[in-house]
Amino acid sequence: MVVDTIKYIRQLAKDSKYQTLFSLGKDLHNINLFENNLDFTDIQLTFLRYLNFYSTIYLDIALGDIDEIVLKNDIYTDSYMMWKNKKDKLKQQQTEFKSPIDNVQRSQWIFKSPKK
C-alpha cells in the first residue's frame, strides 16, 4: 500500500506528459486524461486540482514572474501559490469595491432628482 499518496500525485501532476495532456485537453475535447469522462473518483479530482496548480506555476515561470527555484521543493511551491491566491483575492475584492456598476448605482442615487 502506498503511504504518501499526495507525494506521488504531485510528482505525476508536475510531469510534462500529464501537463501536455492537461493543456491539450482544454482545447481539444477528444484528448482524455482518464478512461472515464465523468463520475471522477476522489483521487482523480485531487490529481486534476494538482494539474491545474502546476499549470499555473509553469505559466508564471514562462512569463518570467518567478524563477524555477519555486519547483525545488513542495514548501516553496505551496508558499508561492498561497501568496499568489491571497494577492489575487485581495485584488478581486478591491475591484469589486470599485466596480463601475456600483459607482453608477451610487451616482444614480446621489443625483436622483427630488420628487415633485
Binding site: 521543493n73 508558499s79 498561497m82
Partner: protein, 217 residues
C-alpha cells in the same frame, strides 16, 4: 574493520536501490489508480474489482453508520469524544488545549509561508529562502506530531469507531470478483467479510479510500 565498512557500504547501496524501486512501484500504483474510476487486480489467480461507490451504495453505508452510532451510544462500554476529553482532563491531558496549540502553529506556519511566497516572487537569494523554509518545515513537523498524538488519544471514541466501521462496510459493499463473464460480490455476508484474510481486506480498503475520499462520509 575495512571489511565491515565495505559491508556497510554495500548494505547502504542495496537499501538505496530498494528505495528507488519502491518509489517507481508506488508511482506506478498511483498512476494506475488515477487512470480510471475502477481498479482491477489479481490475487491467487482470482480477478478482483473495486469501483467508485454509487449513490445507492453510499446511502446504504450511511444507513449502517447511523445504526452503528445508535448501537454504540446505547452501550456503556463506549464513550463519546466529549466524554473521553473530560476523562483525559482529569488526568491532566487537555485535548482542547492541544487543538488550540495545533491551530496556533498552523497560523504561524501560514504567515511564514505567505512571507516565503512573496520572497520567491521577489526573487530573493536562495539561502534566505532556505532559512524560512526550515522554519516552516519545523512547524509542520510539530503540527504533525501533535495531530498524531491527538488522533491516538481519541482513537477509541464512538465517532472514530463508527468511521472505521463505515469504511469497512463500504469495502464489504464495493469488493467484487470475476466469475465467468460476471462480476459478483466477494463476500455475501458481513460474517464472511470479517473472516477474510487481512491482506485482501486492507488492499480493498485502500482502493476504496482512494476512490471515495477520506472525509466524505
Amino acid at each position: 574493520m575495512a571489511e565491515e565498512i565495505k559491508d556497510l557500504q554495500k548494505e547502504q547501496e542495496i537499501n538505496e536501490v530498494q528505495k528507488k524501486i519502491n518509489e517507481v512501484l508506488n508511482l506506478g500504483e498511483i498512476e494506475d489508480l488515477i487512470k480510471s474510476n475502477e481498479k482491477i487486480f489479481e490475487v491467487n489467480n482470482i480477478t478482483y474489482r473495486v469501483r467508485k461507490p454509487t449513490f445507492k451504495q453510499r446511502q446504504e453505508a450511511y444507513k449502517k453508520r447511523v445504526e452503528k452510532f445508535t448501537e454504540l451510544l446505547q452501550n456503556d462500554k463506549y464513550v463519546l469524544e466529549s466524554d473521553l476529553k473530560t476523562s483525559y482532563l482529569k488526568r491532566n491531558i487537555d485535548i482542547d488545549a492541544m487543538t488550540r496549540s495545533i491551530q496556533n502553529k498552523m497560523n504561524n506556519r501560514d504567515s511564514l509561508m505567505l512571507k516565503l511566497g512573496e520572497m520567491i516572487k521577489n526573487k530573493v537569494a536562495e539561502n534566505e529562502l532556505e532559512t524560512v523554509k526550515n522554519e516552516v518545515q519545523a512547524l509542520n513537523e510539530e503540527i504533525q506530531r501533535l495531530s498524531i498524538q491527538k488522533t491516538n488519544l481519541l482513537e477509541f471514541c464512538i465517532e472514530n469507531q463508527v468511521a472505521i466501521y463505515t469504511y469497512s462496510y463500504l469495502t464489504f459493499l464495493l469488493a467484487e470478483k470475476k466469475e465467468g463473464d460476471n462480476w459478483v460480490r466477494v463476500w455475501n455476508t458481513w460474517e464472511e467479510f470479517e473472516n477474510e484474510k487481512e491482506g485482501l481486506i486492507n488492499r480493498f480498503s485502500y482502493y476504496v479510500t482512494m476512490m471515495s475520499g477520506w472525509e466524505e462520509m
